[in-house]
């Protein structure tokens, strides 16, 4: 029996030893003279794009051939972060990876799963601060490792129905959260049975783009303190935000809001013409720049305008900023042709023509300082609002950590309970939450 146990343990250890991945592969930047002769080659790019967006991205990826005639790109769509991680772990990574989850960048940097691009940027004399607005560094680098670069970005702002606001006597969008609350109350209409007919603002977490992230930015609430400890209980701005949001929910009625949101088609309506804002059932909402494209594609008749999202009354200088964050691109460890991969990444993340074409095709915010100057994109006043938000120095993504979206999930769950009136002592729950997040971080 004892021999069998020892045998099994030996097999387990052997199995584990066989499974262990490679070590750190950080090295100086692999460089290549782009003008030199080069044998034809194909680079594989993995992304989770699909449909129309996949087609647009493929076209732009293939346009690299104009710059490097020897380079052919094979764009493999429908590959999420899990697939990319499995491929890296299995030693067969794509030459270039695209991820929609910037929250994972910290893990990629921390584990060197995506290579540090700082040596490449330095070798090519690319001044990061001049190339990109500061906001991008909040979600593409971790511990000074630049393991990803932005390929377009998203920015969040306020969409408001001009006709509904004007009918209620408002000519300007709200600039502070208290103005938003007052206006929302006035704009909300009820049916004879007390149910909501039109919501001035849809405050529920989980409804469309309302989240602790997007609304937390309006209060400049800090996820972590300077020592890296979770600060959800120690930064009073979180409590302020949660109480403001709950007061709006309480005013309109939690059950009524849930039924109203359900009557719009729930979360699924977000990507259809039944969206509450597009059908005139919601007067104001927070959303990303992509909504402009959806409104156009859905041929919605809503007369709308965009503005930065209102901010905490006590921090008026925050106005104009917002949460940002978008698609990231990087070079996985273990790629066979890192120098060629870098040329493609550089093209897709720094080349103005490529970014502008992509931005026009996907209707996302272009990510370099130069591409943000594109006259055609700036001419669209609905869209340019988001380009300005992105460039605001106070705009940022939430701090990224090696636990990915776990901190948001834990906080999101507490916020949901709070808005439903299921949290007695909010401060005590936030303290518990900090402890929980700290333990998740310790878990490694």
């Amino acid at each position: 029996m004892r021999r069998r146990v020892i045998g099994l343990l030996a097999i387990a250890l052997l199995a584990a030893a066989c499974t262990a991945g490679g070590g750190d592969d950080s090295k100086p930047a692999a460089t290549l003279d782009p003008n030199a002769q080069h044998d034809p080659m194909t680079l594989t790019v993995w992304s989770n794009f699909s449909g129309r967006e996949g087609k647009v991205t493929t076209q732009v990826l293939e346009s690299v051939k104009q710059k490097y005639p020897w380079m052919t790109v094979k764009h493999v769509q429908g590959k999420d972060d899990e697939a990319i991680q499995r491929a890296i772990n299995g030693g067969t990574p794509p030459d270039v990876a695209i991820s929609f989850t910037p929250d994972n960048a910290a893990r990629y940097c921390d584990t060197r799963a995506w290579q540090d691009l700082n040596p490449n940027l330095q070798a090519d004399k690319i001044d990061k601060q001049a190339m990109w607005p500061s906001a991008i560094f909040s979600y593409t680098q971790y511990n000074n490792l630049q393991c990803a670069l932005p390929m377009l970005t998203d920015a969040y702002g306020l969409y408001y129905n001009v006709d509904l606001l004007s009918k209620a006597g408002f000519s300007e969008p709200p600039k502070t959260v208290s103005e938003l609350k007052t206006m929302a109350e006035k704009l909300t209409e009820y049916n004879a049975d007390g149910s909501i007919k039109v919501a001035g603002f849809m405050p529920l977490f989980g409804a469309y783009q309302n989240s602790v992230n997007t609304l937390g930015h309006a209060y400049a609430a800090k996820w972590y303190d300077s020592s890296g400890k979770p600060s959800l209980s120690t930064d009073p701005n979180w409590t302020k935000m949660l109480e403001w949001q709950k007061s709006m929910v309480d005013t309109m009625g939690y059950d009524k809001l849930q039924k109203f949101f359900g009557s719009l088609g729930g979360g699924d309506s977000e990507w259809s013409a039944q969206h509450g804002f597009e059908t005139g059932k919601i007067a104001m909402m927070i959303d990303g720049e992509w909504r402009n494209a959806f409104i156009a594609a859905d041929k919605a008749k809503v007369n709308y305008a965009t503005a930065p999202f209102p901010v905490d009354d006590a921090q008026p200088d925050l106005y104009g900023s917002g949460q940002v964050g978008g698609t990231i691109m990087g070079i996985p460890k273990g790629v066979k042709n890192p120098a060629e991969s870098w040329l493609l990444v550089k093209y897709m993340t720094t080349e103005t023509s490529a970014l502008v074409t992509l931005a026009k095709g996907l209707r996302n915010v272009p990510s370099t300082t130069e591409s943000l100057k594109d006259p055609e994109l700036n001419a669209d006043e609905h869209f340019s609002t988001f380009m300005k938000i992105f460039q605001n120095p106070k705009s940022t993504f939430k701090p990224i950590t090696p636990i990915g979206v776990t901190d948001q999930d834990l906080f999101g769950s507490l916020a949901e309970k709070h808005q439903a009136g299921k949290v007695g002592d909010l401060q005590a729950e936030l303290v518990k939450l900090d402890d929980q997040i700290a333990k998740q971080l310790q878990l490694g």
């Binding site: 387990a12 991945g21 893990r107 039924k259 729930g266 979360g267 769950s413 518990k432 878990l443």
Partner: protein
Amino acid sequence: MATVSVRPPAAEQARAAERRRRRRRSAWRRQLVALAFMSPWIIGFAVFYVYPILSSLYFSFTSYDILTDPVWVGLANYQFMFTSDGRFWTAVRNTAWVVAIIVPLQIAFGIGAAMVLTRVRRGLGFYRTVFFLPTMVPLVAAALGFVFLLNPGGPVNAVLGFLHLPEPLWFRDPAWAKPGLALLATWMVGQTMIIFLAALLDVPRQLYEAADLEGAGPLQRFRHVTLPMISPVIFFSVVIGVINGFRYFTEAYVVSKSGDWDNPVGTPQDSLLFYTSHLYNQGFEGFHMGYAAALSWVMFVVIMACTLLLIRSSRRWVHYQGGFR
């Protein structure tokens, strides 16, 4: 009379030894041939079952994120699970709800539907198909269909409202989210129902006739004839149901994430956070693969213990017609 033992000559002994060797060689050859025929399965089993199982056992004692080498942490993952992970106990409670409520509900509904079908005289094939059809629907599609049906502003609530009955928020209310999933599970009971139907049709008619002669009513017939006769099938369904209950994932995950992929796993308010959802969340979203491996081993031990308990208890309540077990 004295016996005389005659020792076989040395040559005879050598021949006997040679025969034994040949027999052994022949047996060994037969075993090799059998092993060769079995080797595709053996290799597959070793590579796809034994190796991952042993690997996951090792990983459960490590801090491992898939992307870098595992680091041995001893029992830290297990300690974290029982002492520090608040969501672990939430997931355990929710999973226990599935095992305690949904599994018996499915079995009861399966027996009920099968009993109704045994009484159908015309169109049995049609009704059998109607009951079985939901099983053919992919789980994700079925879950999305129920998200639509049980939308707070959806068709089910429209009917409830018309009848002046309360209109729950279903999947947006933690008190109603699990009952919503129970409805979905009951709707997809076709597989269980078909097994029970076969078992019910297999109960000898003379047992019912004998019970009638003894003056047994419908309830007594069910209690003393039907239930004992289909008890092996009930036992099978309970074991499979309990195992699947512990592994409950897809429907809950789809419902939680429906509408907004950014919803935390377990939405609303962790009411749909089941053990495997938590395991998935820790392993693939939080990159704690070592901890996820520890979670999976605890689940394995619990499932194994429950299955053994059920098997032991079956001696008391499962009746086999031939007396075989």
